[in-house]
């Protein structure tokens, strides 16, 4: 097989998810709300992939950044401006600042201790949001007014068409950035830190500082996801900050596979779609279906659902077995 056709095949492969996403736009009808939610969760899972997958920051509190993004977008829309892009930028900045700040305190630690610290930080934040009723609406949640048209041109419609494309565009830009970050010297050094922080210190890497920056970047991405969720559904609830949200996004990412180009895409989409359909059939027992799915994936595949993709790609293209990294 020639190099040209191999790279052509790979390009096709990379275009596929986006083509599918556009297909959903034209055929999705009443599913666009679900689709938008899936896009948001993909972005959220992608942000976790940067922190957890790439840099090895084991976190059980990533919802903190998603929630900050969501609330920041909500508060921005209520008090300052209904412009979605300004709101998105403000939310991204707020989440990233909190990521840098909290990261600076907790990233001296690793492993289970770090996991507990991320958990504690997000739990404290959720309590604060609950108590700061004036700012966040507390348990009643925050309702956003109508968003101004995107770029002054595209109004948000009842059918959620603009919302879907908006989320898709933001996801596309962020995933380009993530793709780039993960392949940069910075991203590679994060991968090194995940594998062996001691080695990285031995080559002079300021491990803590680099992790803090990575955490801030990941928080920015998660904040964008939260802002999208808030803007497209025009509401924010305390659930955005909950431990369950952190757990769910972790499950989505691992389900898809960490450090894979499309792990977050596959994991979040499968989770959201399976949950929605299972809950339609039996709202009480959809957990049974999801639970079995998770167990099956762990037992069958080596690295999440993208393990299936690898096998299929190898079978289709007859490519030699590639190493674990894309």
């Amino acid at each position: 097989m020639t190099a040209l056709s191999e790279s052509g095949l790979r390009r096709l492969w990379h275009g596929l998810p986006w083509a599918l996403a556009l297909l959903v736009y034209f055929t999705g009808g009443g599913y666009l709300g679900l689709g938008t939610h899936a896009l948001v969760m993909i972005l959220f899972a992608l942000s976790l992939d940067l922190a957890l997958g790439q840099a090895g920051i084991i976190t059980m509190g990533h919802a903190a950044f998603f929630g900050i993004g969501a609330y920041a977008a909500g508060i921005f829309a209520s008090h300052l401006s209904a412009d979605p892009l300004l709101g998105l930028a403000a939310a991204t900045l707020a989440a990233s600042l909190f990521g840098l700040l909290s990261g600076a305190f907790i990233l001296h630690t690793a492993g289970v201790t770090l996991m507990m610290l991320t958990l504690a930080v997000s739990a404290l934040l959720a309590e604060f949001a609950n108590q700061a009723h004036g700012l966040t609406g507390g348990d009643d949640g925050l309702q956003l007014g109508r968003m101004a048209p995107l770029l002054g041109l595209f109004g948000f419609d009842l059918w959620g068409k603009t919302a879907y494309l908006y989320a898709l565009a933001v996801l596309f830009l962020w995933s380009l950035a993530a793709w780039r970050i993960m392949r940069s010297p910075f991203g590679r050094s994060l991968d090194g830190i995940r594998q062996n922080p001691r080695r990285m210190r031995a080559i002079g890497t300021p491990v803590w500082r680099r992790l803090v920056v990575a955490y801030g970047l990941s928080a920015a991405m998660a904040g964008s996801a939260g802002a999208l969720e808030a803007q497209t559904t025009r509401s924010v609830g305390l659930g955005a900050l909950s431990v369950l949200t952190s757990g769910t996004v972790l499950v989505m990412l691992v389900l898809g596979g960490t450090r894979r180009s499309y792990g977050a895409f596959l994991g979040a989409t499968v989770y959201v779609v399976v949950q929605d359909f299972a809950a339609e059939i039996d709202p009480f027992r959809w957990m049974f279906v999801i639970g079995l799915l998770l167990m099956a994936v762990v037992l069958i595949f080596e690295n999440g659902l993208t393990g299936l993709g690898d096998a299929a790609r190898r079978a289709l293209a007859g490519l030699p077995r590639r190493s674990g990294r894309p």
């Binding site: 780039r180 010297p185 910075f186 062996n196 990285m200 210190r201 031995a202 300021p206």
Partner: protein, 250 residues
């Protein structure tokens, strides 16, 4: 006399009541080839950790090219030029051999912070990594993952990474430990070809290797410098024979 590359004065460290380093005096001239030996528990690893900054000394100073580095973090010391290799494997197992070196080059050149506009610089890192690996005779393995590499080549890679950091002082922690004798000659050859301007301190149990490599030997026992001198002087030193060679011979 020219200024030593590394000078250590009165370096002391204790854990509770256990003294692991006591008023250690040591200096390495530019291009030195010094062996550090001593029985188990003599404080060799502690000394290395004090030099790299992983441990903080209770007293004493460490000077690199005449400037104290006691306040620096381990990472900053690496950037100043104190580089070590590890006894146990601490390579990035899931990464390719080439990237292992290239990541170190990127770190040395300060481009490891780059998120954007890195393609050309990263390419340069890769090129340098490849040529360094070729120099050490493992060009054939550049695209393999470290975990797939034979042990001897992993130790060579360790040395390649250390050299990629352009050290002024290189601390070799048992560079040939555990390597099958068939592969050991490649490591010996690599050690022989270390650039002449680097000052090397080698910690080693293998006496043949130490005596072959070192021009000066420092003997450590119970946290203090017991003796130092040329290999011949050390071999003849009665005290050393008593605490160290004698025991290992028996």
């Amino acid at each position: 006399m020219t200024q030593p590359a590394l000078a250590v004065h009165g370096l002391s460290k204790r854990f509770g009541s256990l003294v692991v380093a006591q008023a250690i005096e040591l200096d390495l001239a530019r291009g030195a080839r010094t062996g550090l030996i001593g029985p188990n528990g003599a404080g060799k690893t502690t000394l290395v950790n004090l030099l790299t900054g992983t441990l903080r000394a209770d007293a004493g100073t460490i000077m690199l090219d005449g400037r104290p580095i006691d306040a620096l973090t381990p990472e900053a010391r690496v950037r100043r030029g104190i580089v070590r290799t590890h006894q146990i494997n601490t390579l990035l197992d899931e990464t390719t051999v080439c990237d292992n070196v290239a990541i170190a080059v990127a770190e040395r050149d300060g481009i490891a912070w780059r998120l954007l506009r890195f393609a050309r610089r990263w390419r340069a890192c890769i090129d340098e990594a490849r040529s360094r690996l070729a120099e050490l005779g493992i060009a054939h393995a550049v695209e393999r993952r470290v975990s797939e590499l034979p042990y001897g080549e992993q130790r060579l890679l360790e040395i390649a990474i250390a050299l990629a950091l352009r050290p002024r002082v290189l601390l070799l922690d048992e560079p040939a430990a555990g390597v099958p004798s068939l592969e050991a000659h490649a490591i010996h050859a690599a050690l022989d070809r270390l650039p002449g301007d680097i000052s090397v301190l080698m910690i080693e149990h293998d006496m043949d290797l130490v005596f072959r490599f070192a021009r000066e030997i420092v003997v450590l026992a119970q946290g203090r410098v017991l003796a130092r001198g040329s290999p011949a002087e050390i071999a003849a030193d009665r005290q050393v024979r008593a605490v160290y060679l004698g025991r290992s011979a028996s």
